[in-house]
């Protein structure tokens, strides 16, 4: 499969770009909700619109009412979301949770997918337990209790946890903290008694929760996939999420780069446009190269994932790491080249810097994934 978008994908990209630039732009969404101190951190109206565009159910099978598309397509939408810093539940609900639910029972899929596809409900995922992403270690415990389970523990960095109608929780049902096996995924409904959220606003104005599970009683039918066999589901969810986050990061990088290159063509100092200064030209050209490369490997990872390749996992980590490094470079160069005004809240470039920071951290930063690349490569 060639590493560019086919006709259908190019058409989708046009549509997504137009729609998100129009409805999901920074003024209309990120700043709007941020300046109103919105407790969700995103707008439900846009989420509904995204449903009407058919985005929400892209990764859901047609049999379940979705479009049965792949990660290349989801990535197209995510890149535009990244470029516009659009706050939405797309990555967590339509990519992560939707991927987990693929492994769920008919009953679970019927319970949650229609609302998600319709843009009426939101799902979150609860993976991390410490400040760094370490899904290899799960200490939150779910113990057999009657027909179901009793869930105890705590999760952090649950994006939109307080807004979610359902949270996918990775918990340990057997074994010890570091075991690969013994994990079970649960679809925990928002009204589960014993679940409490401490919601905090993050640097990019998104909302995340520290979520506590204090003996939360869960029916057996909340289990996604097999009891004790959740690692495979978790891995699939992480894989989809990382590739998706990489695509969003490509959008962040491209947005920051484009804004900066535009600025180089407008700002004058020393009687010249600053874009005439060769030192800045070379840095911009280098950034361009990096962004192109980051985008290429992200599409590669999407295609491998869609093709079910055994290399998808390695390439997902390559993409996540490369994009994290590249978007970091883009926002750093962006702020520096904007000079003083880059430090002001009035200009958008600083918002890119904030979003990059939160997005790169989500599901593992460049360090984590570079290390993973080494481990998967056997060194």
């Amino acid at each position: 499969m060639p590493l560019y978008h086919n006709e259908d994908q190019a058409m989708l990209a046009d549509t997504a770009r137009g729609f998100i630039a129009e409805e999901g732009n920074i003024a209309k969404q990120l700043r709007h909700w941020r300046d109103r101190n919105c407790k969700d951190g995103f707008g439900h109206g846009l989420w509904k619109q995204m449903a009407e565009m058919g985005f929400t159910g892209m990764l859901v099978e047609e049999a379940d009412g979705g479009l049965g598309m792949g990660h290349v397509e989801a990535g197209i939408v995510l890149e535009e979301i990244g470029r516009n810093l659009t706050p939405s539940p797309f990555l967590t609900s339509s990519v992560l949770a939707a991927t987990a639910l693929k492994h769920g029972s008919d009953d679970l899929r019927g319970r949650y997918l229609p609302g998600l596809i319709a843009g009426d409900s939101v799902a979150a995922v609860a993976i991390d337990e410490t400040a760094k992403h370490r899904p290899e270690r799960i200490t939150t415990r779910a113990e057999k209790s009657g027909n179901g389970f009793k869930l105890s523990g705590a999760k952090s960095f649950v994006i939109q946890g307080a807004s979610a109608d359902m949270i996918v929780v990775a918990a340990r049902t057997s074994g010890s903290d570091e075991d690969a096996d013994g994990i079970t995924l649960f679809a925990v409904p928002k009204d589960a008694s014993g679940m409490s959220h401490d919601a905090v606003r993050l640097v990019d104005s998104s909302m995340a929760t520290h979520t506590k599970f204090d003996g939360v009683e869960l029916d057996g039918d909340t289990v996604i996939g097999e009891v004790d066999g959740g690692r495979a589901v978790l891995d699939a969810m992480l894989l989809a999420g990382r590739v998706g986050a990489a695509a969003e990061g490509v959008g962040v990088a491209r947005g920051a780069m484009d804004m900066t290159v535009d600025y180089l063509k407008q700002r004058k100092q020393f009687g010249k446009l600053i874009g005439e200064f060769q030192a800045l030209q070379h840095r911009a050209s280098h950034l361009y190269s990096e962004v192109e490369i980051a985008r290429a490997v992200t599409i590669k990872a999407q295609q491998l994932l869609d093709a079910g390749s055994v290399n998808a996992e390695l390439m997902a980590s390559v993409a996540k790491a490369k994009v994290a490094k590249t978007a970091r470079l883009a926002v750093q160069e962006g702020v520096q080249m904007h000079g003083g005004i880059g430090m002001t809240d009035e200009y958008d470039i600083g918002l890119y810097m904030k979003r990059d920071r939160a997005l790169a951290e989500f599901l593992g930063d460049a360090y984590y994934h570079a290390n993973r690349v080494a481990e998967l490569s056997g060194y």
Binding site: K132, F157, V203, F277, G340, G342, G350
Partner: protein, 397 residues
Amino acid sequence: MADLEAFRTETRSWLEANCPPEMREPVRGEDDIYWGGRRATFKNDAQKAWLEACVAKGYTVPMWPKEYGGAGLSPAEAKVLREEMGRINARPPLSSFGIWMLGPALLHFGTEGQKQRFLNEIARGEIRWCQGYSEPGSGSDLVSLQTFGEDKGDHWVVNGQKIWTSYADQADWIFCLVRTDKTDKYQGITFMLFDMASEGVTTKPIKLISGSSPFCETFFDNVAVPKSYGDDCPAYVGTINRGWDVAKYLLGHEREMISGADGGERAAAIGAAMKRHAAKTGDDIDPVLRAELAMFDVDAMAYAAMGEKFLDEIKVGKAHPAQPNMMKYAGTELNKRRHELVMAVGGSRALEWESEATENGKPSKAWLRTKANSIEGGTSEVMLNVIAKRILDLPGA
């Protein structure tokens, strides 16, 4: 040396007697810093007592001459004072751009009358000054500034706009670069001093990405600035149309100050502290991040040695006059890298913007703040230009 030891003993007991315990606590917030000025209020009695003790002793500006409110200390004595204050974690009694910037300019270029009046006001914390240099169209290319003072005989009428005036909304007076001759780019600027309460002066705070607003836009709409404030006290520093000399002197001073400040936090290694920090939150530091920390620590400790060498050389006049530009460049870039790593170790917790655990986003706000390091006081690009020109003597630089 014996004299210095005597001075140390004396200073130690003076501090013991005069520095209130509350003033020996680390600065925790903006209101722990006393900036002085007409509208200043003391946070508590201790802050007031500490200021007054220092003013009486000349210790708000220890190296300034006594007649201008200082203590007339030698560099060696001042170092002892700094060390002794550091020993008990004594806070600076007074912070101000008058002390850091206008003062040095007046000491170098001012008339006796200006020194008598303005330096004493600064030393006592009576007048809070702000700096009017940059303009929206004149950042790195400062000398292209457009704010114009029309000569009306005994006064100028000033019109224009400044940006990045630190705390202009809280300042009493401004020292300000104003074009007074449009025909000569460099020799057409006057370094004026005037009251921010003058009619026609308005300020508008600039909100930064870190959420704080330490800077303002400042607008001058037909502001009348008299040419003199009395005998031997002109309203400008140096000579009319030669304010660029003063500005350049101050920019050099500023870079030196920024670069000289690097013995502290900026130059410190962080790996060990980061490991402890991570352990506290149950995190480990992954091997690739650890390697980055190690490479950073190498650079940080090397830079610390450079800072020490630079200060040693400055003292005896051995440093290249443009070396502060190198220090500023390297130090600010290093500091940005430091905070990137602190954020990386901090993980999702460090992302929190409004939370108790982070005291409302301290790590992320500090991180964002560092991004200005390589812009303010001369961008990294300008520093590199200056090194190319003045140190490496590259053509056309």
